[in-house]
Each structure stands twice: as structure tokens, then as C-alpha cells.
Amino acid sequence: MSFAFYLIAALTVAGALAAVLLKNTVHCALALTVAFAGLAFLFLQLDAQFVGFAQILVYIGAVAILVVFAILLTRGSETPKDGGIFSRTWLVGLAVAAAVFAMLGWAVLQSVAGLPRATPEPTVTVGDIGVALMGRYVLPLEIVALLLTAALIGAVIVAMHEKEGSK
């Protein structure tokens, strides 16, 4: 396990922790961006170049900006009046998350013997991805296109100002 992997993994986990623990919502969004960037580096380390760059382009370039705009439009950067950024049932949530992590970790470590050791580097070009998208995966591609169109129209309609007369 290379030093680079540990460093990037530490960065990603630190970003994720900051994203759920910080008080100021905009700081949380910026820490989330750091986590996304760390994940993109992890993808690049796994020789998945297209996915890594798509992660940066879509998540950092679009989703992070969406989150930040939503925070600004809902004035979420003001801290809540009656104090407390965690809900009343925070202990239960934390316990559930810890249980999920324990279960997943146990499952992964338990099956170490069955996991493959090392495989040669896959030589996947963007051309191969294009051929696969237009060949074997053309149906999911078209469905995702429809889904994105529906989501675009839906998000605009949901967030639009209502006309004054229809109240």
C-alpha cells in the first residue's frame, strides 16, 4: 500500500468528517469539495482516468456549486437560533452509522482470503468507453438522458417562484 494512497485517503476522510461536523454550512460545502477532490485522486490512482476527470467536472464543477448556491439562497449560513447543529436524536444516528461501519469492515476483513491479490493494469482508452456506451450500454445511456431531462425540468419547476395569482 503506497504512501500516496494513505495520504489521499486521509485527506478524503478528513474532508468528509469536516463536511459533517463543522458549524458553518458553507465551510461544510467547501470541505465536501475537498472530499470530492480526494476521491477523484483515488479514482486516478485506480487507473480510472475518465471517471476521475468526470468526478471533478460533475461533482466539483456542478454539484458543489449547486450546494453552495442552495446554502446561499436559503440563508443556511446563519447558525440556528436555539443553538445546536445536531438534532435531538443524534446519538441514535451516530450509533447506527457506527454499526454500519462495523458490519461493513467486518465483512471486508473477513473475506480477505477470497479477494484477488493483484491484477495487471487495465488498458482502457476513452474510445473503449465510447464504444461500450454506444454498444452494450446504449439503453442505460438513453434512459439516463431522459432522467436528466426530467430532473432538469423538475428542479426548475419546483424551485421557481409561484405566480402571485394562484395563491
Binding site: L30, F53, A54, I56, I60, A64, I65, V68, F69, T125
Partner: protein, 391 residues
């Protein structure tokens, strides 16, 4: 002899790397290329600031800076000394860490974009298979730095400027991506070196640059509009318009941080113009087949400087667009034209060689332009001009 002149920087780099021990050579090669980019483009930036101020001055019927050095050549030195020695004022309620990191993120992201540009034959820093995607991914990070700068200043004008800038940048980014996708479709690769290679053919002495095809010309115009908007240049510079928003998202920055923003903006202009020349103007290829003896890097940089000149010309000539006019233009005119351009590029590819594809593709694009233009003009209700006088 001409090959030596063409490859002179590559040969120089090989010689320098050869002087070092074997173990260090790969790292030294990369470090040398990176150092060359980091030293050369800021020097070009300094030259461009003089060029711009003199050019704008001449367009506006005045001389421009002429005190510092002959023809004002040493003006960037004076500007550099000024910005380095100015006091770095940070507002008391500003968010310290984010305020500090915003210009850093911008400059780092912009410098990373230069890694994939082919500046000459065999002169790419990182020849990636998905080079174009890497460039756009890095470009998307600059929007985040703009927002960070505006929000961390705790200033209404900065925040408004930042939100306007980000809204403008994400709208025109779609146009940028779509006009590049047409090029990717025709050349069949996301790698910038292969895109230049696909344009490196000549017929009857004229090059096969993509700008000389109907879809290429339309794509180039859309790309040029999108780059002017992405780099917040006039006529799309409402986010930093001096008469509107003080200085927009970099109001609260002084001294060296402001110089970094300035540097970042101009370097973004260089890299995006470099990408435009690679995609549409043939990169480092010569304009006529009898001129291929001139070094390839000379052609790349002269096309780059011509694009910069056009940017300066636009800044001096056109008035600023209002925010809603800008957004309307992006979503209702540029985006449909880009989508249609994709269709036309596909038609071009599958119609085979001949005069018919020229006629049909040009006809579709012209009809779309006229149709969309009429639609926009009708919506704007342009009537007879009316004047109001003060009583």
C-alpha cells in the same frame, strides 16, 4: 536545419536532462517543462498587460501608458513592484482561511490547464488520452474559487459579484463543452495532440483546419463567445464591472492577492485561447503548405496572440451586457446553436466528400441563426426610440 529550429526547445530539454544522473532524469524532465511554463506564461502576461493598455488606449483615442520605459514597456515592472509592496488588507469579519485560499486555488487550477496544450510538435507536458476532459475538469474548479473569494469577503457587493460571475460561468460552460464536443466527434479522440494531427493536412495549399468548415466556423464563434464569458472579459464583465459593483468578487483583495487574481484571469485567457487554437485553428500547424518550414511553436503562439488581440479589441469596442441579457443569450441562443452544430457536424461526417455537404450544412446553420435571431429580436420588443428629458 528547419527541423532543429522546430524542435529546439525539445532538444534543449533533452540536453539539459542528459547532464543529470540517470536516477533523476524522469523527474528532472517534468520539472524542467513545468518550470518553463511557469516562467514563460507570466512573462507573456506582463507583456499582454502593456499590450492591452496601449491597445485600449488607442481604441479610445488616447495614448496609454508611456512614462515607464520606451512606449511604456516597463509598466508591468512598475505594476509588479506596486502590488508586492502594497499593504495586504483583510477585513476583520472576513473568513480568514477561505479568503487566503481563493486566489491560490484559482492560480493553481489555471496553471494545471497548461499541461495538456500542445504548444508545438512534440511539445506537450502531459499527453493524456482524455486531455480535453482534464482541461474542462480543471476549468470547472475556477468557478469554485470565484465563489470562495466573493463569499469570504463578507461584503454584499462581493457576494453579488461572485454569484453573478458563477451563474455566468456555469451557463457558458455548457456552450464551451458542446462546441468542443463537435470537434471531438469529427476527430475521434479526446487527446489534444490527436486533434491537432487530424488538422495537419493540406489540400491545394490550404489547411484542413476545422474553422474552414461550416460547423467549425459556427463552433468557433460559439467557442469564442463562451470563452469571453468564461474569463469574465468584456462584453461579459458585469461581475467585475468597475462602474457597477466596485470590483465585484475581488473588492476586498489588495496587494499581492489582487495581483494573483489578475494573473489568474489573464492566464485563464491564455490557456482557453490556446485550447481554441488547438481545437479549431489547427494548433501548431502552418496556415499554408509552403510555410511549414517555420517552427511550429511560432505558429501556436502567434495564433494565441491574435486571439488575445481580438479579446482586447472586443473589450474596447462593445458595451457591457446586462446580467439578464447575458443569461438569455446563453440559454436561448448559444445553447440551441451549439446543439444544432453537433447535428450539422454529424451530417458533415456522414455525407462524404463533395460540394453537397458544404451547401446543406451551411444552409442549416444560416437558417438556424436567422430563425433564432428573429425569435430573440421579437421577444425584445424593439420599438421606436423614445427620449426622456429632465424637467
Amino acid at each position: 536545419m528547419f527541423e532543429t529550429a522546430d524542435q529546439i526547445f525539445v532538444l534543449l530539454k533533452h540536453w539539459l536532462v542528459g547532464l543529470l544522473p540517470m536516477a533523476l532524469q524522469p523527474v528532472a524532465g517534468v520539472v524542467l517543462s513545468v518550470a518553463a511554463i511557469v516562467c514563460f506564461f507570466p512573462a507573456l502576461f506582463a507583456l499582454t498587460t502593456v499590450f492591452e493598455r496601449k491597445g485600449l488606449g488607442r481604441i479610445q483615442n488616447r495614448i496609454g501608458p508611456n512614462r515607464t520605459g520606451p512606449f511604456g514597456i516597463l509598466q508591468p515592472v512598475a505594476d509588479g513592484i506596486k502590488s508586492l509592496t502594497k499593504e495586504d488588507i483583510v477585513p476583520l469579519s472576513a473568513d480568514g482561511a477561505v479568503h487566503f485560499l481563493a486566489p491560490v486555488v484559482l492560480v493553481v487550477a489555471v496553471f494545471m490547464g497548461f499541461a495538456v496544450l500542445p504548444m508545438g510538435r512534440n511539445m506537450v507536458l502531459a499527453d493524456m488520452d482524455a486531455g480535453l476532459l482534464f482541461y474542462f475538469a480543471i476549468g470547472a474548479s475556477t468557478e469554485l474559487s470565484v465563489f470562495m473569494a466573493g463569499w469570504s469577503s463578507r461584503n454584499k457587493y462581493s457576494l453579488m459579484g461572485a454569484m453573478r460571475a458563477v451563474a455566468q460561468m456555469i451557463s457558458y460552460e455548457v456552450a464551451l463543452l458542446l462546441s468542443s464536443v463537435a470537434v471531438v466527434m469529427i476527430s475521434g479522440s479526446l487527446s489534444l495532440t490527436k486533434i491537432v494531427e487530424a488538422q495537419n493536412h493540406y489540400s491545394y495549399g490550404l489547411p484542413h483546419w476545422y474553422i474552414f468548415t461550416p460547423w467549425g466556423l459556427a463552433g468557433f464563434v460559439m467557442y469564442a463567445i463562451a470563452t469571453t464569458a468564461e474569463t469574465n472579459r468584456s462584453p461579459f464583465d458585469l461581475p467585475e464591472g468597475e462602474s457597477e459593483l466596485v470590483a465585484g468578487y475581488h473588492t476586498e483583495y489588495s496587494g499581492f492577492k489582487f495581483a494573483l487574481f489578475f494573473l489568474g484571469e489573464y492566464l485563464a485567457m491564455f490557456s482557453i485561447s490556446g485550447l481554441g487554437t488547438t481545437l479549431f485553428l489547427g494548433g501548431w500547424t502552418a496556415p499554408f503548405s509552403f510555410l511549414t518550414w517555420v517552427p511550429s511553436w511560432f505558429w501556436f503562439f502567434s495564433k494565441l496572440m491574435m486571439s488575445i488581440f481580438v479579446f482586447i479589441w472586443l473589450r474596447g469596442t462593445l458595451p457591457r451586457l446586462r446580467q439578464d441579457q447575458l443569461m438569455n443569450f446563453a440559454w436561448k441562443f448559444v445553447l440551441p446553436m451549439c446543439l444544432l452544430n453537433l447535428l450539422v457536424a454529424g451530417l458533415w461526417r456522414f455525407m462524404g466528400d463533395g460540394w453537397l455537404r458544404w451547401v446543406i450544412c451551411s444552409a442549416i446553420l444560416v437558417a438556424a441563426y436567422v430563425g433564432l435571431g428573429w425569435e430573440e429580436m421579437r421577444r425584445m420588443h424593439i420599438g421606436a426610440r423614445s427620449y426622456r428629458y429632465a424637467e
